[in-house]
Symmetry: C2
Subunit: 205 residues, 2 copies
DNA sequence: TAACATACGAGACGTTGCGTATCGATTTGC
DNA sequence: GCAAATCGATACGCAACGTCTCGTATGTTA
């Protein structure tokens, strides 16, 4: 049974009250630099050293606040493109889902695809970051989709005993599978196929 | 229009007839070393230098025949665990699929999971390797599943107009999604849920 | 048998990015 | 004023990369 250590508070992000406070300028400059480098060179070419250079900041200032490149990118990216998840109500679950995935595919194809792939790749090598990725980004998207599905269930468009989590695994799974392997396009046609398949199944009705 | 260069044959793997031939001993020792290191230290700790050390081989001998760590691991792994894909015929498509995914999940959970995740991560950063991964490993598994599905279609257990490729994206997608994110177990329960969902759909029947 | 072509093990080499450590200067609370 | 924590800057050792060059070995060709 580990006894609590009075020297180290339970939460590490409890800022001390004395000493020079964190520079908000540097904080912002770092996140801006991350976005600029992501846009320009891509996720792979982005290194801690390049961020420090671009932001005009010491490396230690980055390492002080973020544990890894992936964590840094995730914060910059989440702040940037977050909470733009559309939750349309187009009257039918089918239409809502098609719209949800059409817009998700569009963003992935136009902008965020490479970064998402990079984040997933880093998560493979860094269990701690995997947890953050799951809880910050993935969980948010799953929750959004869950909301759409739940609304459909209330309207009686889903079996009452449908397991929404499995449904989410199927839908997002197919999305990531194509995103990662790049064997086929993420387009509106695929969105419709996806939604149709999951709603109707593949057996004759 | 690029004119053909007489010095470089169309296929780079046309071995010249003169000079010292490739050492089969070294070739084997390298692949063995890869498997031993994968087993012992895992995919991440495996480096070209560690393979050379373990195999008692010069680095150049590795670089001469393989372009990347991922390519090397893929060959070692494919040779090792390949073509053991079971294609059961248990009478019904549902049973066949459940068996297919139960055994796939079992192998991923017991043995190959970490290596597969590593290969996928490397493919994100290396488009050339992504193509190899797709064509050597992914395509093989897709073909196996396709065969199972096709047999079910012939038996009338699938809609005649079912798009089997989309179905495969859904099934393998969910597998990879859970394998990569590790938010839930890959167990026989999930296999049954997966198969049931895809066959029956989520709307009331 | 001699010349040639290529592979071999070994390891030096320059490069990159990592993460840590230290510097003097700065900015806050006490 | 002093302690504490930050800042930008940069030096450091480390690990692995991928290239290159040794001297040697092992084939084919003439």
């Amino acid at each position: 049974m580990p006894k609590p250590d009075p020297d180290t508070p339970a939460k590490a992000d409890v800022r001390p009250l004395r000493g020079r406070p964190r520079s908000e300028d540097s904080h912002g400059a770092i996140l801006d630099a991350v976005l600029a480098l992501l846009e320009g060179e891509g996720y792979r070419a982005l290194t801690i050293e390049s961020v420090a250079r671009q932001a005009g900041v010491g490396k230690q200032t980055i390492y002080r606040w973020w544990k890894s490149k992936a964590e840094l990118v995730l914060e910059a990216y989440a702040n940037h493109a977050a909470s733009k998840l559309p939750l349309p109500d187009k009257g039918s679950l089918r239409a809502d889902l098609e719209w949800f995935f059409c817009s998700a595919f569009k963003r992935l194809t136009d902008i965020s695809g490479p970064t998402m792939r990079g984040l997933m790749a880093d998560a493979v090598y860094d269990p701690e970051f995997l947890e953050i990725l799951r809880e910050v980004l993935i969980a948010k998207r799953r929750a959004a989709l869950y909301q759409v599905l739940e609304r459909g269930r209330v309207r009686g468009e889903l079996s009452p005993d449908a397991d929404l989590d499995v449904m989410i695994d199927l839908l997002f799974g197919a999305l990531w599978y194509r995103l990662l392997l790049q064997h086929a396009k993420l387009d509106s046609r695929f969105a419709k196929q996806l939604v149709g398949s999951v709603l109707d199944g593949f057996t004759p009705r």
